[in-house]
Symmetry: none
Subunit: 211 residues, 4 copies
DNA sequence: GATGAATGAGGGTTCATTCAT
DNA sequence: AATGAATGAACCCTCATTCAT
């Protein structure tokens, strides 16, 4: 008899969460495009489809918004950590390849390089925030990777080197690639991320497994 | 009759060059500290020991100053390229170690990570400039490195892989280290750059030289 | 079957009046503390124990709220006038003392100086409102006082002066005291209101009764 | 041969002082008209004939501007004090009349009521500032007046009352008049300031000199 | 050439008011 | 009726740039 609302209005808490996500997404994009200083709150609000004042209902200041962006980006990082940890019992070389696959996937996700750039550009300006990222994402991630490599060394399948440094060396090409893609543009960077990381996996494992 | 200036004033062109260098140094420092958006022309002028208006005698706008900073940083990069090129005829493995040594030196120089950060943070804002850096520094540098590795492959001492990708993989840990040091702070980054790069050289060559 | 509300809800009109009074009280306090411009509707609503939107059910705008505050303060003033008028037949000197006693009481009431301050600070912004106060409170009040003094002059017990000016001179110390207390704070104003007004009554009557 | 500049440009320090005075004058006027909260920096700058940014060269914030206004208004007050002090040796009753004459003059000056209103309206918001005014102007002024009255009491020409309260009572009508003129407007206040203060002087002295 | 006072466009933030729930 | 999330106009303040000295 009566027309159903085609899209039922989301419940209040759902609406709130959806808007917060929309704001964070818009903010990440615009911070990356124009830098923190160059980003205008009004543009972020427009991109999120809300009024300028509404943004302040969700984030008390531009700075708090930056913090929110960084914190939100920590979640996929944590997911990666758990995903690696669950496989940590496997063959170390295979786990290393899994890690590289995850890095390839992350690079394909447009968020990663964008976030990397924001973190680099603004990390110094928001030390608590970058410290949170370091402690909650980078260090646990490096930790589980170091564990995997350490086990490979114990088992005698990897050459004996400092597992902490090895963990960093495993991630370094992904970090460098993310940055290069952002700074020079995907088209101009001059390499294909998947090939780079595949080659890296081969070379890294070859080195690690050589006498 | 008239007192001579005890320190004879530098000749005009010399003074001009000295001031320009002072401004560029101050600008690099302050761009790195506060970002392009957060840097104030007046602070840069103060740090360079000149008046705000005087800065405009040397650089026509804030943007031109950023371009100047990026261009000035190209010089040491070019020097590195030449230095590598002159050794390019040597034993490829030895040249790889020389390259890593240069990277270690660059990381010890406080300018490098600072410049890396500025390039990352502001590169998007000045695309012609970052393109210049890419074309005049990064690509030639990667080119000479690829040549060295390519010769190693030809000689049969390195495993056959894409020399361009290998060149990027050789530099990646230095790039990642520079970024980490800037973002998280030397004290908090959690690794020692020299050890990281030494380990990298070992592992990279081991991989490259393994079957 | 259903629990009765332990405290029966007040009748609708009574609730309305009570809320209006609560809002006006909160508004007077906050206007005095922070000025009209500095007062936030939300803070007034909070102080009145209602939601921000609810305030607009009772007052259509911030400006209407200011008018309401001034109008509400007219009532005690009118009460004072009537109280004086009923005594107006008495001995003029005694009535003058009664008036001063009422002024002392008003100063002891924390509302008076607060209202005085709001009227001074915001009167210009709401000229119709301050005009209402002048016409409905100040002028009738000065009128009955002038009548009392006029009668004293007619009876030959007061020296012949303009009764209108005398009425203003009788109230001036109370006005000045209210303002000083508000501006400098009760602790720092440097005088005790009761003593000031007692001394004033003595001096004023001594002058009025001298040849 | 060449046209002389008709108005020679003022020297730098003179220009600076002139602009500061222009800003303070404009600010006093506009603070009085619209209140501190209602006053817009841009309007004050316009009224002072300068750009909005220029105002910030002279005063670091809106609040500092308010402080400047109050401080500037202290000067004529201090002048009044000195003028009274130099006459303090005279016949006390004559000095009292001199004080009332000065008050009449002050009321004729349009600045006084305007400033009084600003002080009342914003004093609470800028306690340091109103405290400065109280300590540097009001208290010294009341002090010299109390001295004069105290000497009259010692000489037996004034009735023995608390000289501090008497000093306040002497000034109260001027304060009340200033406020009334500002709040209700000169036309609507309903009295003529000079007559009010003349009558006050008569009545006050009559009271003070009566047994 | 060197300087810094002057400028005004621009942007972060606040808050009175509205309106869907 | 009551609420508070949403809104955008308005305002303080900053800072790149200009220009008179």
């Amino acid at each position: 008899m009566f027309a159903e609302a085609v899209v039922p209005p989301p419940s209040r808490p759902a609406q709130r969460a959806a808007r917060e996500a929309a704001i964070l997404g818009a903010a990440l994009r615009i911070f990356a495009e124009r830098g923190y200083g160059g980003a205008r709150i009004e543009d972020i609000a427009d991109a999120a489809g809300i009024g300028k004042g509404t943004l302040y209902v969700y984030f008390s200041s531009k700075r708090a918004l930056l913090e929110g962006v960084v914190r939100a980006a920590a979640d996929p990082g944590l997911a990666a950590i758990e995903s690696i940890a669950t496989q940590a019992e496997g063959e170390p070389a295979a786990v290393v390849r899994v890690i590289v696959e995850r890095a390839k996937r992350a690079l394909r996700n447009e968020i990663t390089p964008v976030f990397a750039k924001v973190l680099v550009a603004e990390g110094g300006r928001a030390p608590e925030v970058s410290a949170v990222y370091r402690k909650e994402v980078m260090e646990p991630l490096l930790g589980v990777i170091a564990d995997v490599i350490g086990r490979g060394i114990e088992r005698g399948v990897f050459r004996p080197i400092d597992p902490n440094l090895a963990a960093r060396l495993l991630l370094a090409p992904a970090m460098a690639a993310a940055i290069s893609l952002e700074v020079f543009g995907v088209g101009d960077a001059g390499f294909e991320p998947d090939s780079l990381l595949d080659t890296h996996a081969d070379l890294f494992l070859a080195g690690l497994q050589s006498v």
